[in-house]
């Protein structure tokens, strides 16, 4: 529904320039952990895409591990609503 709407909007303005694409690629590169270690020289787009895929997979794995850890912590602790309020304030 909404994706159909956005797609038709894009085919209307079909001129996506190389510059826009390389701009998006370099924004993506800046998000990667490797970019913070090295100087901000431009990596080739294929390398950026590869690193992006690897990074997303890493993040998914971290979230899975954290879910497992949270699930174990939940199993061992009963949480009253008073305790939840305390925990909430500790998180803020």
């Amino acid at each position: 529904m909404s994706s159909r709407r956005s797609r038709s909007r894009q085919s209307g303005s079909s001129r996506i320039t190389d510059e826009q694409i390389s701009d998006l690629v370099s924004k993506l590169q800046d998000l990667l952990p490797e970019a913070r270690l090295r100087s901000n020289d431009r990596m080739p787009s294929s390398r950026v895409l590869q690193e992006t895929c690897d990074y997303i997979r890493n993040l998914h794995r971290e979230v899975d591990d954290l879910s497992e850890r949270l699930s174990e912590l939940l199993a061992t602790s009963d949480m009253s609503s008073a305790q939840a309020a305390i925990i909430r304030s500790l998180l803020m």
């Binding site: 797609r7 085919s11 993506l28 909430r88 500790l90």
Partner: protein, 213 residues
């Protein structure tokens, strides 16, 4: 112990903030609504982190209080609960995105579809959901076969982005990565708080004095 953890948490936040987490004045809402163009700054705001942490806590408490949702496997085994926690965390993340990205809408839509299917299966024969197969969008931009292959892999990793044109896919991936990073930070903080609380609870009930450094 509990008395030292709040100032400790505050110290950690101060150390982390150094320009990364912005705090507007009294208006928390405008802080989230403004400057949404930059995904990394949007997901690093303190307010978004707080909103997500709160939603996350609620969501996993629901999972704990007994797998009430019909979609999840009701057995008290570990694997379904892990999955339920992961999905609850993802849904909370998608809600925090405020519906402006494909990936967030896709996460919520797939959950909604699963609930509908479970509901229909219980009531009557399941209706077949309309499968959308639009033609592949034109104007992807010049891409070599190697790039096209990697773009396809990326499209499978980001939820709901398999058929997006290349520029939109890159934008979604940027936002998704920033959101995932926040999710990791929030879940880590919650795990730390929960493990500290449960450790201090068990040590106080056990009577042994083990004071955490």
């Amino acid at each position: 112990m509990a008395s030292t953890s709040s100032p400790a948490a505050a110290v950690v936040e101060e150390r982390e903030s150094g320009g990364k987490r912005k705090r507007g004045g009294a208006t928390g809402e405008s802080e989230v609504l403004g400057e949404e163009a930059q995904p990394s700054s949007k997901w690093r705001r303190r307010r978004v982190h707080e909103i997500y942490s709160s939603k996350l806590l609620d969501a996993i408490r629901l999972v704990r209080s007994g797998s009430g949702s019909p979609a999840s496997a009701a057995a008290a085994a570990t694997q379904p609960r892990n999955r339920a926690v992961r999905e609850a965390a993802d849904r909370a993340l998608a809600v925090s995105a405020r519906g402006r990205t494909h990936w967030s809408r896709a996460i919520l839509a797939s959950h909604h579809r699963r609930l509908q299917a479970a509901r229909r299966a219980r009531l009557r024969e399941p209706a077949s959901p309309p499968s959308r197969h639009p033609t592949s969008p034109p104007g992807k931009g010049p891409k070599t076969p190697a790039l096209a292959r990697k773009a396809k892999v990326l499209g499978r990793l980001v939820p709901g982005c398999r058929r997006l044109p290349f520029p939109a896919l890159l934008a979604e991936a940027s936002d998704y990565i920033a959101a995932l990073e926040m999710q990791v930070r929030a879940m880590t903080a919650l795990a730390e708080v929960l493990s500290t609380v449960s450790a201090s609870t068990s040590s106080s009930s056990g009577g042994a004095s083990s004071s955490p450094a």
